[in-house]
Symmetry: C3
């Protein structure tokens, strides 16, 4: 059995945001699956997906602070600068974190750790709404 849908996420401010609930809301069909896999693919090159702690919001604040230092704006060696100082760092962060996730489904639910949440990583100042492809396969 395959399920696939393409959804638009609401526009988030620059930073790291929990979107587990929005995704689960879109794939209630997985409740009938004994075993399967969920693939998520974000159709953008300046935002990304990751899995990390879903409890303390300071983790997400620290993610934003860390990545802004690890991938700085306005590096003198950047050549790709026409779309704003946040653009090239956003591309780099997007590839470091990656656009896709693959999560097992077990007995009708995502089989994530109790502390694991799905993050939308918005690397641009005004990224706007982002499009996500959700693909589920299972039986």
């Amino acid at each position: 059995m395959w399920i696939q849908k393409e959804i638009r996420l609401p526009a988030y401010p620059r930073g790291f945001h929990l979107i587990s609930r929005e995704i689960l809301h879109q794939i209630t069909e997985i409740q009938t699956l004994k075993v399967g896999l969920l693939n998520l693919l974000l159709k953008h090159t300046s935002a990304s997906l990751t899995i990390n702690e879903n409890a303390d919001p300071s983790v997400r604040t620290d993610f934003e602070a860390y990545f802004n230092r690890a991938v700085a704006e306005n590096e003198p060696y950047y050549r790709h600068i026409d779309e704003g100082s946040d653009d090239m760092p956003a591309h780099l962060k997007a590839s470091i974190l990656g656009p896709d996730l693959n999560i097992p489904i077990t007995n009708g639910a995502l089989n994530l750790g109790i502390w694991q949440g799905i993050y939308l990583c918005e690397h641009r100042n005004h990224g706007g709404s982002r499009t996500l492809v959700i693909t589920v396969q299972g039986e």
Copy 2:
């Protein structure tokens, strides 16, 4: 055909560790598959999975040395500090390296390069036993 199991890895010290053999030991059923995919998902936010060189142990030592410099402890801007100085860096490293891997199966075996091994990346000082979901699909 689907195979899925959840296993507990033994507790590893902080660092990078080859776990290919332990995983293969759990999925002997793949020997009957002509084609397929293996998904691995580590159910934690302060440890991760990656694929890298399986021969010279100094590669794994250098991984630990590099990531400790690239993601330092005790950064004055960290807010998430209540669980120890190794905690927030562990979350960051876990997302940089990622919790999931997807590996093709060909003619009854994982189709990895000859030098590729699966690493458990233990980012905490005392992470304890880690839980891994193994999902195989194929025919």
Copy 3:
């Protein structure tokens, strides 16, 4: 339905290279699939795969410049140095970016964003030809 092939990419110079067209050329069978997934696995530990901007070549130039700074050669603490100064950084970059990608297939085509291209990330000075496993599943 499963499709799987192992291909050899031409040798690319060190840097980031668009290979979407070469991959699509190998999987024309996906045109018959309504829904599915493509898995790519690069069988190497000093080159990697990522998805990023497919338009302005300066993005790829900046990727090379950034990663050469973020993962420097000749760090005095490296122990794995026998295979050249570009070797250990190549291993680290390969794990930061990752060897595998998983991309949805929708109505006979890869469902990527309009600006998303598949990059071969060649981290060695003389990496030579690289081997890629392409696995497609769908219906």
